[in-house]
Point group: C2
Chain length 187, copies 2
Amino acid sequence: MPKPPTSREAVVPVLAEAFREHGYEGASMAILQDATGLGRGSLYHFFPGGKEEMATAVLADIRTWFDDHVFAPLRTNSTDRAQAREGIGSMFDEVRRYYRSGRRVCLPGVFAVGRERDRFDTAVAAYFSQWIDALTIALNVLGIRAPRQHAIHLIAAIQGGITLARALDDPAVFDGAIAAARTSLDL
Amino acid sequence: MPKPPTSREAVVPVLAEAFREHGYEGASMAILQDATGLGRGSLYHFFPGGKEEMATAVLADIRTWFDDHVFAPLRTNSTDRAQAREGIGSMFDEVRRYYRSGRRVCLPGVFAVGRERDRFDTAVAAYFSQWIDALTIALNVLGIRAPRQHAIHLIAAIQGGITLARALDDPAVFDGAIAAARTSLDL
DNA sequence: GTCTATAAAGCGATAGAC
DNA sequence: GTCTATCGCTTTATAGAC
């Protein structure tokens, strides 16, 4: 029983993990209460809009993290090939750690294939759009043909890698997908 | 108000579509009742085990369909390259139609990234295992190196293509993923 | 700011009439 | 085989004490 977090921003990552583990509908208030160590009253104090406001805050938090750790390093100077290579290599590293080799799901990805997409469509689309745009920049610097199409392909391989790794209960499937993507870019 | 289906086997595809649209938890008995046009009593008559038995029947039905239309054509004679090429080409065609360019989700895929995986793990794993095994056979006939790894990559690209097409609300993303996979195999 | 108690609605599942 | 009525439980959200 480590810590009852006392600020809204400290609660958000805990909520994020609960949503990843149980899904949006599956994460009941009782579960979120247990996960955060906060009572119902406290949760509604921080998030008057209830679960929907919590999920919105979680999606924003996720996007901020990816912006800092994944997207920003990809938006390289248009002449610096070494920087582009490093940005993409760093992306593979960060993504493998973040998704824990497929043991952890991508919340925007899960929302995209569920009913949650209707409610959180802009946040879900923005997450993947920013990722695609940033990766397209780096691939373009490397001189890859059809860089946007290639970026979509790489991100799809990552998302599908999560699905298959979980379906087969084999993290090596995710790691293999990352390794193959690296190899295809000579990284 | 077309038809209230009267046999268990006629109900299963309707249930499948309801589960795809609403998810396992989201598909309430009321929704399944409306979708099938059957009353609660009838549904429980056909599926005494309730929702869990319905989902099990749906997963079995999906697997049968893929076995007939996708997996079987991939399990080709070890010397017939033309047959292997046709099996893979047919897979891309059938998959694009079945998933409706990403407008329709893959239920085993959705279950794999959600809590449903715990309950339906064997059915989910079997679906993807059979797909991988069958595609590996065809790729091996074509002389592709590391055919199993390649099969996993292709299936992951399809699953990720669904996720991205839905996230961006753009079926062209899915079609592009299929086209790229075709091109990479000279099909 | 945090808690408990509770309201109001929806859930899956069952019973029993027909 | 199909229906309606209903049970018992869980859900989200709110109210009000502290």
